[in-house]
Symmetry: C2
Subunit: 311 residues, 2 copies
Amino acid sequence: MKIGLDIMGGDFAPKAAVLGAIKAYKVLTGHTLVLIGDKEAALSILADNDVSPDHFEFVHTTEVIGMGEHPTKAIVQKPDSSISVGFNLLKQGAIHAFSSAGNTGAMLVGAMFSVKAIPGVIRPAITTIVPKLKNGLGILLDVGANADCKPDVLVQFGVLGSLMAQNVYKIDSPRVALMNIGEEEEKGNLLCQATYPLMKQTNLFNFVGNAEGRDLFGDHADVYVCDGFTGNIILKLAESFYGITRKKGVQDEFFDRFNYEQYGGSPILGVNAPVVVGHGISNDEAIKNMILLSKDMVESDLVNKIAGAFQ
Amino acid sequence: MKIGLDIMGGDFAPKAAVLGAIKAYKVLTGHTLVLIGDKEAALSILADNDVSPDHFEFVHTTEVIGMGEHPTKAIVQKPDSSISVGFNLLKQGAIHAFSSAGNTGAMLVGAMFSVKAIPGVIRPAITTIVPKLKNGLGILLDVGANADCKPDVLVQFGVLGSLMAQNVYKIDSPRVALMNIGEEEEKGNLLCQATYPLMKQTNLFNFVGNAEGRDLFGDHADVYVCDGFTGNIILKLAESFYGITRKKGVQDEFFDRFNYEQYGGSPILGVNAPVVVGHGISNDEAIKNMILLSKDMVESDLVNKIAGAFQ
């Protein structure tokens, strides 16, 4: 397997990305890491760390898409950027997964333009991990790819999240809940009111009803479905709480499990190849885990399983 | 001033409510507390605590609206419930404010049926307090009265929240932000994209742009505006975080300031009288502070100031 990594993406690129690649290659026996970006910079960081370049493959690129750039314009105007080149390699099958801690919007647009959405998937979604108070984890989606959603799109997110939970996190018959503002079927905004009956009658996943904001860290469900506006607000609020507990020096294994580093990144589900977007502030540990997550996505054959569900 | 309290509302009613009333009357010099509910039960709790009933007025009622009852049906079918009677007294001017830790929906419906929305206010909103990391507090609205909102409704929430911040919490020129999923003007769902330009051009409040989930506990703004779906999810998520820090024994003044008890309750803004809804789990301290908050709303003449803004 060849795993592509954008070494120019993220606030601490290329250093954090290359250091993460060094950590990852040591545990990735039998697979090859393809470092996409400024080859000279990568070689220099490897040399500084006494790591032979022979452990990696390199694809040199000359352009970088910045964190603040407009995604669609940047993808079009910078064909030799590490993100554009990464997606071309992914489309050609020269790499089997692609990950980056760079511009999330550009990663999403790049995925849609190159490998494209899986036939039948109306809108791919970005997922994140939610730690449970009693060990284990849940999956929240969408966290920002689709600010406005229709009911059938939310139902599809249930399918995507359920397959992710089952295949990558090995959760049997994952419980899927609809993020809402009340327990009862008739509660919520118009979107939820229209979505609930569709989820209730689907046999595509194990629907367990509504979840409220207070249920997110409980053991109510394994997959929490919402539109990308709601999910993004939840994600950023949760991150800020985690940040506050760190700032306050709170020591607790539950809060430790909020640390994004150990999850590596957010998969974009519903596109024709494994794609993972890392946090902009990713350090080497986060990058390593982003690489391992993309490997898990390839090994579990998640993309084909999603394609099968939408046939 | 006569302040009405529903003593049948909340999980620990009537005991917590009457004990809260005892705490409140001691600091409410010159004002009268009107206890609405089962008079015999109230007298018995007062006797148990060696408090003379002469410190209060009583309005006896024979029915109770339960926490799980359908708001509109309950208000119509239980005319002698403490909530229905309380709103009748409020409408007649026999009390100047009404508060309850009971069924939130029934409080909202009761307010709309009796004192009604202030002319010009499209949809009243329920507010909550958000502690700031660096002392002080912010106001979040709507947290559940209106799951679906139009842009002009969100602009009105900005007016309501700004006047609350100014008059009750004495914040000069309160900064109003739109809860969104990006900093830039064009970011967000269709609702936010349509609301931003309206807020930008209004001179009804001091608009400071978008706030994200991560900004809520910072000092970005004093008032955070969102639809009731988003606000309710934020509120319940924040409450669950607070609950987790308590459960984990985290000692910190910031987390202490999450404790709803000290804020007393959530005002319903935009109706023709001060109305406050308390948390269902309110204890005596929370009830006391709910009473003091309704007093502050009367004293600051908030309702007339809101009416003036919508003339």
